[in-house]
């Protein structure tokens, strides 16, 4: 075994152990590799600088040549290297989170909306437009200033329909722009936007985020519950594209439009929209209505095989430090309540009308959500995939038991047996 006595993982490769198996996270390529229980034990000891021959002497049932071939394969993948001398892998210090996180501030200007979409997480409708308890212009300015001071550089105006508060937005957009925000986005249904409004938005490099439900007018209007909304939204989309204003569109999938999601995405791409994504209806607000989902939609959410998106250094360190969403975004409702995310409406961390935004952001109330990574979720904390698996507490929480910390129901991996359950056979 000359020269093949010691092996350490590279500085970009981490072994994360689960209850049984392990996973190698290669932050250079973004890939994650599942390793069996014995391999995880061997790699852990190698990382401590132990000699491979001695380790193999302690492990039953391992063919030494195969073990060397195995480690060679890891080396060929660039995950580590052999050494003639014992080298204990040094665990690098986590990076400064302030340098890698991209804080996003979501400001809900109103819960009023001219549409009444079937799935709206905020239960918005036109009757909610006039509300005396809404945050004042001065308070919004204060929040935008305070958030910038603690490192936030991205702001999104949302509703309800924020263009129902156009006068307020006309004040806040230049204000955020002048302070130095690098990303200002308005999330809108698009039906109330005029060309004059778009000229204003372009002047301040504002991006737009739309929801669009179907290439078929009748289906889109069925979901927005407003006849003619498809036509108006599409007119504005065309205008936005013509004016080269950055645009992204989400196609929210539910039972009503599930048959034409692909065609709708193609339709939007054909128009020239580059950033189009589909997503499943979220169980918040009117989205909790069981009529919006069916077995096909539930089945799409199931994770029943090891199949993760690539990660990077920032995602890995963020997921080790806290929650994949709550650590980077915070939302303020129209009445001033601060929520860990836009769709989590039941838990307020404080109200900016009575407390400074900074104090709320650094409060214990907010912190408990920010640090809520999978290490704090039962079962997930024993899973080797806990730093590459995306979490959504809104989807995962158990409404019936009022439990905020359950393992996501859609995950069918058992870290204690290392097996995936084929849930499709139950559907």
């Amino acid at each position: 075994m000359g020269g093949r006595e010691y092996f350490t993982l590279s500085s970009d490769c981490f072994l994360i152990k689960g209850a049984l198996r392990g996973a190698l996270y290669d932050l250079k390529s973004g890939n994650v590799f599942s390793v069996d229980e014995t391999s995880a034990q061997i790699l852990e000891r190698l990382n401590f600088g132990e000699n491979l021959s001695l380790i193999l002497g302690d492990v039953d049932g391992i063919n030494k040549e195969k073990a060397i071939d195995y480690v060679n394969a890891l080396e060929n993948q660039g995950l580590g290297s052999w050494s003639a001398v014992s080298t204990k892998k040094e665990i690098p210090s986590p990076p400064d989170l302030n340098k890698i996180l991209k804080y996003v501030l979501h400001l809900e200007l109103t819960t009023g909306c001219n549409l009444r979409c079937l799935h709206c997480y905020n239960e918005s409708e036109i009757s909610k437009l006039h509300n005396n308890n809404e945050v004042s212009l001065d308070d919004w300015r204060r929040v935008i200033t305070e958030a910038y001071q603690i490192g936030c550089r991205r702001v999104q105006f949302i509703g309800g329909e924020p263009f129902l508060k156009w006068k307020l937005m006309r004040e806040l957009i230049p204000f955020a722009y002048d302070i130095g925000y690098i990303s200002i986005e308005v999330s809108t249904n698009g039906t109330l936007i005029t060309k004059k409004d778009l000229n204003f938005l372009k002047e301040y490099n504002v991006k737009l985020a739309f929801s669009f439900y179907s290439y078929k007018p009748q289906i889109h209007d069925l979901i927005t519950t407003k006849k003619g909304s498809w036509k108006k939204t599409l007119q504005v989309i065309r205008l936005v594209l013509k004016m080269r204003i950055p645009l992204r569109i989400s196609v929210v999938e539910m039972r009503q439009n599930k048959k034409e999601i692909g065609e709708t995405i193609n339709f939007l791409k054909f128009l020239g929209v580059e950033k189009v994504r589909s997503g499943l209806v979220e169980p918040a607000g009117r989205g909790c209505n069981i009529d919006l989902v069916d077995c096909d939609i539930f089945a799409k959410q199931l994770l029943n095989k090891p199949y993760f998106a690539k990660i990077n250094k920032n995602i890995f360190w963020r997921n080790k430090a806290g929650h994949n969403c709550f650590l980077e975004q915070i939302s303020i409702g129209a009445k001033g309540d601060v929520y860990p995310c836009l769709e989590e409406r039941k838990i307020s961390c404080g109200n900016i009308k009575f407390t400074s935004f900074v104090d709320i952001f650094f409060s214990e109330n907010a912190k408990k959500f920010q640090v809520l990574n999978k290490d704090k979720i039962e079962i997930c904390k024993d899973c080797e995939y806990r730093y590459c698996c995306f979490d959504c507490r809104v989807r995962a929480k158990d409404f019936l038991e009022n439990d905020y910390y359950p393992k996501p129901w859609w995950c069918h991996y058992d870290p204690y047996t290392g097996k995936w359950i084929d849930t499709y056979r139950f559907i």
Partner: protein
């Protein structure tokens, strides 16, 4: 004889370049841009 059975050492890639179609993460939440803030290209 079971305990003398030779063990296989496994090393299986579980990530995909393709996002969506059943992959876990990043979020498909409509409120978050692109691949999630940490991974978004808007800088």
């Amino acid at each position: 004889m079971e305990e003398n059975k030779e063990k296989e050492l496994e090393f299986i890639q579980v990530t995909s370049d393709k996002v969506g179609d059943g992959t876990c993460g990043p979020s498909d939440c409509p409120h978050i841009d692109c691949d999630g803030p940490s991974n978004s290209p808007d800088d």
